[in-house]
C-alpha cells in the first residue's frame, strides 16, 4: 500500500527510531470492547423494565422537542421512588434510526435535566444509565447548543442534593457520556467502556486511518477494570458469563443488587457530605507532575476491582 500513514509506515518509522515494536493488540481487551457494543446487549429500557416495578417515562424538554435517544422518567426501585435517565439505543434498523444510535441531542440532555430537577425537589435519588457512542454530531444539535447542554447537565448533576449514581452499561464515549456522569458513585458493567472517544474516532484522528481502531483501543485501554484502577469507576458490576447479552434477567438482577447497596450507602450521608465527596472525587482525577509538592500527583488505585 502506498498510503504514507498506514500501519506499514508506522512500523518503519518506529523501527528506525529504535522504539518498542508496535504494541501487541490484546485480543481479550478488544473482545471486551466489542461486547460493550454487542448488537444484543441489553439497553437502558431493558434494565429499567427489569429493575423498576413501575416506570413512568417523561417526554420533552419543554423548550424544543422530545429526544428519543434519551429516556428519562420515574420508577419504583425496591419500594422507593427513583429517577432514571439514560441514552437509549435501538435494536433493529428502524429503531436504531428512531433512537439516533443512542446519540442524544441538546433536547435529550434538557429532558434529563428536567427530570433530575424534579427528583431533587422531591428528594428522589437519581440513577443514570450511560450507553452512547457520543452526543449527536449534527448541525441542528450545534445550533441548539450541544456544548452548553452537556456542560449544564454536568453542572446540575454536581449541584443535586439527592444521591446520584451513574452506571456505564455499555459504551461510554466522549462528553456525550460524561454529560450523565457526575455522580456520587460511578459503576461500570464488567464489559462496558468509558473513553474520551470511540476507538474508530481515535483511529481516524490520531492514526489518520480509520482502520486502526484496534490499536487505538489498545492505547486507550478504556475497560471497566482499568477505569476502576484510574479512579474513574468506583465499582465494577459483574456480568453473566459470556456477557450481559446472554441473560438479561441475571444482568439486571446483579445491577439491581449493586444499585441497592450503593443507594443505602449514600442515603446514610447528608446532602452536604455527599456533595463534598462528589466534588473531591472528580477533583482528584488526573495524574500530573507538581514539583512544588515534590512529587507526581497520582489518582487511582493499585488494586484490581474486587470480585
Amino acid at each position: 500500500m502506498s498510503k504514507p500513514d498506514g500501519p506499514g509506515f508506522v512500523r518503519r518509522v518506529t523501527g528506525k527510531l529504535g522504539r518498542a515494536p508496535e504494541p501487541q493488540v490484546d485480543e481479550d481487551l478488544w473482545a471486551s470492547i466489542q461486547l460493550a457494543r454487542h448488537a444484543e446487549r441489553p439497553y437502558t429500557l431493558d434494565y429499567i423494565n427489569r429493575i423498576c416495578s413501575d416506570f413512568e417515562e417523561m417526554h420533552g424538554d419543554r423548550l424544543f422537542g422530545d429526544d428519543p435517544a434519551m429516556v428519562a422518567g420515574f420508577g419504583r426501585f425496591n419500594g422507593r421512588p427513583v429517577a432514571i435517565v439514560g441514552q437509549q439505543k435501538g435494536r433493529d434498523t428502524n429503531e436504531r434510526t428512531y433512537r439516533n444510535f443512542g446519540m442524544a441531542s441538546p433536547e435529550g440532555y434538557r429532558k434529563s435535566m428536567r427530570v433530575m430537577e424534579i427528583a431533587n425537589r422531591l428528594g428522589i435519588p437519581v440513577i443514570t444509565l450511560i450507553d452512547t457512542p457520543g452526543a449527536f454530531p449534527g448541525a441542528s444539535a450545534e445550533e441548539r447548543g450541544q456544548g452548553g447542554a452537556i456542560s449544564r447537565s454536568m453542572q446540575l448533576m454536581w449541584r443535586l442534593d439527592v444521591p446520584v449514581i451513574a452506571v456505564v452499561i455499555g459504551e461510554g464515549s466522549s462528553g456525550g457520556a460524561l454529560g450523565l456522569g457526575i455522580a456520587d458513585k460511578v459503576l461500570m458493567l464488567e464489559n462496558s467502556t468509558y473513553s474520551v472517544i470511540s476507538p474508530e474516532g481515535a483511529s481516524a484522528i490520531l492514526w489518520r486511518d480509520a482502520s486502526q481502531a484496534k490499536q487505538a483501543a489498545q492505547a486507550f485501554k478504556p475497560t471497566a477494570a482499568n477505569c476502576y484502577r484510574w479512579g474513574v469507576a468506583d465499582a465494577v458490576v459483574p456480568e453473566p458469563a459470556g456477557g450481559a447479552h446472554t441473560d438479561y434477567d441475571q444482568a439486571a438482577a446483579i445491577l439491581g443488587q449493586y444499585l441497592e447497596r450503593t443507594l443505602v450507602e449514600l442515603e446514610a450521608l447528608t446532602p452536604a457530605e455527599r456533595r463534598t465527596a462528589r466534588r473531591d472525587r472528580f477533583r482528584r482525577l488526573g495524574p500530573l507532575r507538581d514539583p512544588e509538592n515534590g512529587m507526581a500527583m497520582v489518582s487511582g488505585r493499585d488494586t484490581p476491582p474486587p470480585g
Binding site: 456542560s151 453542572q155 492514526w207 489518520r208 486507550f220 477533583r283 488526573g286
Partner: protein, 339 residues
C-alpha cells in the same frame, strides 16, 4: 537537585529533564505572517502591535497565552500561577509518536509548559484571575494539567473574591490522556461553582477554535460570553459532522457570528476592543472596592477604562516586555533539575 522523586516511571523521568524553557528564544509560525484572507503581509513587529489582527481585513490570527496576558493586562504585568505543573503519561500512550515526545516537542516549540497559563492581573484596573489557553501547545488540548490549573484558578479567584476571566482556544480533551482527560471536563465544571458560591462573575472569551470537550464544559458556562470574530465554536467539528450525517454545512458553520445568531454567545468582540470590553462589564458586575458606592460611578469609571484602551495599546509592548522579564526565571535557574 532532584525533588521530582525517584519512584516515578520512565516517562516522568524523561520529561523531568525538560524543565523550564520559557527563557529560550522562541520562534512561532505566527511571528510574522501573511493574512490568509487578504494576502497582506506583516512583519513580526506589526503583528504584535496590531494585536495579531489584520488591519486591512480584520482577520484574527492566533495569539499565544502570554501575549494574550500582555494584551489584556495593565502595564506592570501579571503574575503567573503554578507555572511548574507538567503532564504525566498515565497511559504510556503512543500513537504515531509517544506522548512524552509530543509534550517535549510542544514545550520546545512554544516555550510553554502546558496549554493553559493562569495568572493574577488587573484588566482595566479590575483585579482578576485569568486562565488563558494556548492553541499552539498540542492544539490547546485539555489534559490533567489544564484541568488542575483551571480548577486551582477558580478556587484562587473565589478565595480572593475577584472575577475569573477565561480565554478558551482548544480542540477539546487531550486524547493522549484518554479517559482521565475526559474527566477534566467534570473537574472544571465543578470548580467553576466555587465562583458562584463566592458571588463573583465569570467572563469567558471564546477564541478560535473552541471545540469538543472544552466547549462542552467550562467554555459554555460563562456568565458573560464573548467570542472573537471568525472563531469556530462547536462541540463536533464540521468534518466530523459531515462524515457522520452527510450534511453539507455552510462555510460559516459554528463561527462566532453564526453562534451569536444561534444565541450561544453574548457578543462578537474584536480583539482590539476586548480588554476595554471586559473592563467595562467587570466595572458593572464587579466594581473594585470604593467604585461601587458612588451612584453612576461605575459607569463613569467604565468609560474611563474604555477610553484608556488606545493609550494602553500604544504603550504595552515595552511595559509588557518588562513585566515578562520580571516573572520569567533567569537562565540557568536550578529548576532545570540540577543537571
Amino acid at each position: 537537585m532532584s525533588r521530582v522523586g525517584r519512584n516515578i516511571n520512565v516517562s516522568f523521568e524523561r520529561l523531568r529533564h525538560l524543565g523550564h524553557r520559557q527563557d529560550r528564544p522562541r520562534r512561532i509560525a505566527s511571528d510574522a505572517g501573511t493574512c490568509p484572507k487578504c494576502d497582506s503581509h506583516y512583519s513580526a513587529d506589526e503583528m504584535r502591535r496590531n494585536m495579531r489582527v489584520c488591519p486591512a481585513c480584520g482577520h484574527h490570527f492566533a495569539v499565544t497565552a502570554r501575549e494574550r496576558l500582555e494584551q489584556l493586562g495593565e502595564p506592570g504585568g501579571y503574575t503567573e500561577l503554578w507555572p511548574d505543573l507538567r503532564a504525566a503519561d498515565p497511559l504510556q500512550f503512543t500513537d504515531l509518536k509517544p506522548y512524552v515526545e509530543r509534550i517535549r516537542d510542544a514545550e520546545s516549540s512554544t516555550g510553554m509548559g502546558e496549554a493553559i497559563v493562569c495568572a493574577e492581573l488587573e484588566i482595566r484596573h479590575v483585579p482578576c484571575v485569568a486562565a488563558i489557553m494556548d492553541f499552539s501547545f498540542m492544539g490547546g488540548s485539555m489534559g490533567a494539567v489544564v484541568g488542575e490549573k483551571f480548577a486551582r484558578a477558580c478556587e484562587y479567584a473565589a478565595q480572593k473574591g475577584v472575577p475569573f476571566v477565561v480565554l478558551s482556544s482548544s480542540g477539546g480533551a487531550r486524547m493522549q490522556e484518554g479517559t482521565l482527560a475526559l474527566m477534566q471536563m467534570a473537574k472544571t465544571v465543578i470548580a467553576l461553582d466555587a465562583l458562584a458560591d463566592a458571588r463573583v462573575p465569570v467572563i469567558v472569551i471564546l477564541a478560535h477554535p473552541t471545540t469538543g470537550g472544552v466547549w462542552a464544559s467550562f467554555a459554555s458556562l460563562g456568565d458573560v460570553t464573548y467570542a472573537e470574530p471568525g472563531a469556530l465554536i462547536a462541540f463536533s467539528g464540521p468534518r466530523v459532522i459531515e462524515e457522520t450525517t452527510r450534511e453539507v454545512l455552510p462555510s460559516d458553520f459554528g463561527r462566532a457570528e453564526r453562534q451569536l445568531a444561534n444565541g450561544q454567545v453574548d457578543a462578537v468582540v474584536d480583539r482590539r476592543e476586548l480588554a476595554a470590553r471586559i473592563g467595562r462589564v467587570l466595572a458593572i458586575l464587579a466594581p473594585p472596592p470604593g467604585q461601587a458606592a458612588q451612584g453612576g460611578g461605575s459607569l463613569q469609571w467604565a468609560q474611563d477604562a474604555a477610553g484608556g484602551v488606545g493609550r494602553a495599546a500604544q504603550s504595552f509592548p515595552e511595559a509588557a516586555r518588562k513585566a515578562i522579564n520580571k516573572i520569567l526565571p533567569s537562565s540557568g535557574d536550578d529548576t532545570e533539575g540540577g543537571k
